[in-house]
Amino acid sequence: MNEANVFQPKIIAYVCNWCTYLGADLAGTNRLEYPANVRIIRLPCTGRIDFNLIVKAFERGADAVLVSGCHPGDCHYTAGNYHARRRWILFRQLLETLGIDANRVHFSWISAAEGKKWQQVITEITEKTKALGPYTAYREICQEC
């Protein structure tokens, strides 16, 4: 297989403005290398990251989604991430019931100081998604329309 044929997953990262986005920024200013498979979408807070956005990413052909924000206790809006965490617990059950691959939906807390963690998380998710292969199940649904 030549380089062009290697599967390059598309990973959508929904991150909060105050922690994970700055963490990713720090990774950049520190010249930490991580796979270019990730597309970062910045939102105010994990509490604002609507589950519809996760679904939408799959509709548009994402192979994996990451949702990431401030560590518990550090949310810029005090409790947005606590509310989000609770919804994620329930949302994961819905994914399971629908047969949507939960291995493709990732959650993390990455602070503004954790450029290194950002690098690690993105590298890991990219490797894992490469091993899983393209996520066609949801994409097919959208192509049938």
Binding site: V55, Y82, R85, I89, Q93, L94, G99, S108, I141
Partner: protein, 281 residues
């Protein structure tokens, strides 16, 4: 029991305690009961009560035209009554302004609906007036509560996805499931917002899936399992299964069943620092 119900309502109207009673009536002998809004004492004979009184009438408490009738009394079964508590907790109704008539219930439908098989609220618990006596549910009735979803989850993920694709391909986006739901009281539903369009509203498999994910998840930790959506669906889609999966998650993770315990804090709109997060990196 019917006489008792009619007398109770007649008295409430005559005394002026309420201006209207929301109850069940019969439009045609073979069909399920229809909602009726009785405002004159002499009309109470229109009220019926039998095992075809499916509708969850609490839906009407968020309708402007119904509220404009004045002070209300409403007939509820045990399962419907749970919806009242959720509406109260979400500040949608002023419970002290409503007279709640609880109907003792041995189940609806021939054969009994699935929800009735595992029902543990045959007798309304927080009604102002309770009419009739219901059989006491078996102590283990509730144990079967999640039987269907547990069975479904034994299938492979591919199989589950295939099931929903097949089922939801029939959805015609009539939104009947939303219209009957007492908890769907948004003045403007997210699918009716077009600036911006946040979810695909086309009646395609993609749009149908997006819609049901949205509907089910907006009811997570709120759905009381009256199953009216499933009954309303003209396409015969088992929406109950989706709702059950979230109800199960709510009970397993938070020990919470919507509308059961007036002292329990609703799980949505609240949080605990102790919520588990082993799945978060």
């Amino acid at each position: 029991m019917l006489d008792e119900l009619r007398q109770t309502c007649r008295r409430l109207l005559q005394d002026g305690a309420v201006q209207a009673v929301i109850g069940y009536g019969r439009a045609s002998p073979d069909d399920p009961a229809v909602p009726v809004f009785i405002s004159k004492p002499e009309d109470v004979d229109q009220l019926v009560w039998d095992d075809r009184c499916f509708a969850n009438l609490t839906k009407y408490l968020s309708r402007k035209e119904v509220l404009s009738l004045g002070k209300l009394a409403i007939c509820v079964k045990g399962c419907d009554e749970r919806a009242l508590l959720v509406l109260e907790k979400e500040s949608q109704i002023d419970r002290s302004q409503i007279t709640v008539i609880g109907l003792a219930c041995d189940g609806v439908g021939q054969p009994r609906l699935a929800k009735c098989e595992s029902c543990d609220v045959h007798m309304p618990r927080r009604a102002d007036i309770v009419v009739g006596k219901a059989t006491v549910p078996d102590a283990d009735a509730g144990a079967k509560r999640y039987a269907e979803i547990e069975e479904f989850l034994k299938r492979t993920p591919q199989d589950r996805m295939a099931y929903w694709k097949k089922e939801l391909s029939r959805c015609v986006k009539c939104y009947a499931c939303r219209q009957v739901c007492p908890m769907c009281y948004c003045r403007q539903c997210i699918v009716d917002k077009n600036r911006p369009v946040s979810i695909s509203t086309s009646a395609t498999l993609k749009g149908n899936l997006a819609w049901q994910i949205t509907r089910a998840f907006h009811l997570a930790g709120r759905c009381v399992g009256c199953d009216e959506c499933t009954r309303a669906c003209p396409a015969g889609i088992d929406l109950r299964l989706l709702n059950l999966s979230l109800a199960k998650a709510a009970e397993e993770n938070f020990g919470y069943r919507p509308g059961m315990d007036p002292d329990a804090e609703p799980i949505i709109g609240a949080y605990s620092q102790q919520d588990h997060e082993e799945f978060i990196r």
